[in-house]
């Protein structure tokens, strides 16, 4: 990497803070000039120039050859976040796949790999080792792009707190030290990752974070985010912040009861939403082998596929009516397998919402039930946590080359 042997001598609190301020400003702008940064953050041109020089030296920023005239001052060289150097490693472990991605300082998803496999057939240790294998492969490729992980985010399908999966009904996990197991497995494959900080959270929270940071939500800041996987994950975002509840477990929308006497769920209850609108239940009801097949049959107006989608939509709408009555969100965002299925799910979802939400609460408006962006997922949300850490204190991530 393109970095000096030692961090600068001046590492006082104020300068660290200002380095972060400048780096975040360039990150948010995508590309900008020193003059525009100075105008934005309220520091003098010389102060900003000194900070920018250090960030260039440390490899967090790059200059592009072109110049352009921003709104503030004379034309300047264009500054951009570096596409090399410290990056976020994002890992999503779900019931039937593992996805790993590396996000660079621009926020771009640079390397990405998904491995489909049934994680229910193996113990937690083996599943986390699998995830580490995929991650090691992705990091090898990232190496080639000059990207090195500054930390890892781990998205997991269950109740997560303090680095541990307390409960993951669909995987049959109970009290699994996921962060430690993953870190150990990764270090055994890539010893240079020893000591890498790993942060974990529920995959639905991570997916909602990705939507918030990289999606197309515009001004929308209070929403409920449901992800259709084998299970159905849920996350609640209020004024741009995840609602975590008293113990960090809020959002378990997949286990909302839609039919009290319905089929037994792995959580121990009966008639949970995911027994109707989860991927496994939906494919079984439709008699489809996978989501591609289901989409193809629905597009061809196959009655079995359409009936299964309508029923799933009805149950989704029923559960969501409770969520909307309780939380009064601006919108409901559907991710995971749902965006591709929305043309056939949406009518039944909307019908239930209209019938069951207290009327002032859900005025009809096309934008209120919406698909998640195609470029966001839980692994990207997980990587964004690392990105956030780098942007908050870049000096802590400046390493000798």
């Amino acid at each position: 990497m393109n970095q000096p042997t030692e961090p600068k001598a001046d590492t006082s609190g104020v300068r660290r803070h200002n380095l972060s301020l400048v780096l975040r400003t360039v990150h948010e702008a995508g590309e900008t000039t020193r003059a525009a940064v100075a105008a934005r953050v309220g520091l003098t041109r010389p102060a900003v120039s000194s900070l920018v020089e250090q960030l260039l030296e440390l490899g967090f920023l790059i200059e592009s050859g072109k110049t352009f005239s921003g709104q503030a001052g004379r034309p300047g060289t264009v500054l951009k976040p570096a596409g090399t150097g410290p990056a976020g490693l994002g890992v999503e472990i779900n019931v039937d796949y593992v996805t790993v991605c590396v996000v660079d300082l621009t926020g771009a998803d640079r390397v990405r790999r998904t491995e489909r496999l049934d994680n229910r057939s193996a113990g937690p240790g083996e599943v986390l080792a699998r995830a580490a294998r995929v991650a090691a492969g992705v990091l090898g490729e990232a190496d080639g792009h000059g990207l090195a992980p500054a930390g890892a985010g781990l998205a997991l399908p269950g109740l997560v707190s303090g680095g541990t999966v307390r409960q993951a009904p669909n995987l049959g996990w109970h009290e699994v030290d996921a962060e430690d197991l993953f870190a150990a497995a990764l270090t055994s494959l890539r010893p240079e990752t020893a000591g890498l900080a790993v942060t974990s959270d529920n995959e639905a929270n991570m997916a909602a974070l990705a939507e918030l940071r990289f999606g197309a939500l515009g001004d929308l800041r209070t929403f409920v985010h449901l992800t259709g996987e084998i299970g159905v994950g849920g996350a609640i975002v209020v004024h741009g912040e995840l609602l975590r509840g008293a113990h960090g477990f809020a959002g378990e929308a997949g286990h909302l009861v839609v039919d009290a006497d319905g089929p037994r769920c792995r959580c121990g209850s009966r008639g949970c939403l995911e027994q109707y609108a989860g991927q496994a239940a939906l494919l079984r009801a439709a008699g489809s082998r996978d989501v591609d097949d289901l989409v193809e049959r629905a597009a061809a107006a196959d009655p079995g596929a359409l009936a299964a989608l309508t029923e799933a939509g009805r149950m989704l709408g029923r559960a969501l009516s409770g969520v909307v009555n309780l939380l009064d969100p601006e919108a409901v965002v559907l991710g995971g397998i749902y965006p591709r299925l929305l043309p056939w799910l949406a009518p039944a979802v909307s019908e239930e919402l209209s019938a069951r939400v207290v009327s002032g609460l859900w005025p009809p408006d096309a934008g209120r039930l919406r698909p998640a962006s195609t470029t966001t997922d839980a692994s990207r949300g997980a990587a964004s946590l690392v990105l956030h850490d780098i942007l908050t204190d870049p000096l802590a991530y400046a390493r000798p080359s």
Copy 2:
């Protein structure tokens, strides 16, 4: 009232703020000394003495004859919030009653009156005029205690925003300017209340506020509060703040679907919680004429009463399992008619919660399902909003006698 003709000349922002700080400190302590206040707020003794003198003069504080030695400095005269002067008027309009109370600066509920009557049989204007009549009577009595309303809080059973009831299914109200109608009716009965500030909110939010400010919750700051009335109201408190949602309508727990094909609800949906656990539904199922009768029969182990309560508890538990899965609260607080009925409701509620909440989320613990305090209700919460305003800027409420 015991107040000077003119407020003090020195009404700068800092002094106003410090007057509030001192008054709030005395309010929270109940009784204290100048020295203890100075130690608490970090101002000098002379500064605090000057502020206290002004608050005494304006009638917000009183001195009691006794002295006591606090932890800071020499013994001092005891200071208390006045039991006379500006007070909060709280008004709850519900489906089958109106309750009005006046809360003084100590937080005590000094005058209170409930009138039972069917508010569904009259239009909104008449109901608000009824409430104003009860309020006028209560204010007459408060007068005798030297208490004058500094504002009014209005608790209403529906979706409330901007002073208007958008929708109150159980009253059949739609877009009712409740604040204006109430203020006009009250002014016609007591002309001296002309210009009185009126604030309105959902009754369930007001009840949760009362629980938070005057209840016995201890350190508990993240909870869901359900009030059993004709309807079932809900409020969500996260880290000590009401969760209001995007439009202020969050918490409509009474319309959570517990049986999708159940009886038609006034909200337009079917099988809403309040069709099973609301007061009207519960009394009908039990064949009881009122809650007293139901309690008496349940205590005598009457099978019809017990069966109705078990079924209501089962539906409450079913709805609450969704709420807990979604919000991960520390506790569920049941108010309204529920505290008296809890001995017979609780077993079924707890059974459903154990069976249906994702397991890590609701560890068994007696304190997690709890009755609301007997001294809190929506009218007291409504009055507490006024109290909060007075404590935040006492000078604004200092009036010539």
